[in-house]
């Protein structure tokens, strides 16, 4: 169950990250010389790098993203990664990383994503990203949740498991040798 859940979140985050931060510059609350934005076509809204708060995204959409970094000139080594925060003490789950050499300081594109129905909606998770190019560093994070109802196969299954294990716990409280 845990592995399936983590995998589901990884799928969500990968989709959002690719749409919003493939250039390493788009997560909200950025620190450093990066700028970025992502326009969700079906959702009809744009998320800017400076925006705070929780971003609610549709389960499926096409996202026009763009990002840039100010400062680097000429060919520079770059690297970055995207991670999802997990409950302590598990740290974070790495979703994507990139590295290489480039003289570009901006990038853009369109990404389609379609999250399966089993991925729970209405669950908040934090995606963290960082990007280094030459001597310039950016980092940021965004809190994301999928629009929709919390009631789906996964949440109903979890409720059923709660009820079953609750019964098991009740029986653990029966005295030995009791009727």
């Amino acid at each position: 169950m845990v592995r399936r859940t983590l995998f589901a979140f990884a799928v969500i985050c990968a989709a959002i990250v690719f749409s919003a931060a493939a250039s390493g510059a788009a997560p909200t609350s950025t620190l450093g010389p990066c700028e970025g934005s992502a326009t969700f076509q079906k959702g009809g809204f744009t998320v800017n790098a400076t925006e705070a708060g929780t971003v609610e995204v549709p389960r499926t959409d096409d996202v026009d993203w763009k990002g840039s970094i100010t400062g680097p000139t000429g060919d520079n080594a770059y690297s970055g990664n995207i991670k999802v925060d997990l409950p302590p003490p598990f740290g974070s789950l790495s979703i994507d990383s990139w590295s290489g050499t480039t003289d570009a300081t901006s990038n853009s594109g369109t990404k389609h994503y379609d999250l399966p129905g089993a991925v729970p909606a209405n669950v908040e998770f934090t995606v963290r990203g960082s990007h280094s190019q030459g001597s310039f560093n950016c980092s940021g994070h965004v809190t994301v949740k999928i629009k929709g109802s919390s009631v789906n196969a996964v949440s109903i299954g979890s409720l059923a498991a709660t009820a079953l294990t609750g019964v098991g716990l009740l029986f653990a409280g029966r005295a030995k040798g009791g009727v």
């Binding site: 997990l86 302590p88 908040e124 949440s155």
Partner: protein, 77 residues
Amino acid sequence: MKFKGHPVRGAIFGFLFFFFVALDLLFFGVIPLDSAVITILPLVGIVLGLVWAMLAPLGGKGGSTDVAPPAYQPPPA
């Protein structure tokens, strides 16, 4: 420490019950994915399961079952 109930069952089901309660809270949007509650609740569940098994308030031996069983008497030869 004397357990009237079933401590192993209590610990296991306490862990699982509170783990799924934490998942319910997560899936219904009460807590975020990175919340420490997801880690803490199952551990609390182990403790509560053990306490539950120690107290064992359900069922239990009735007054009559506390009476010692009749002594075995061999049949007359």
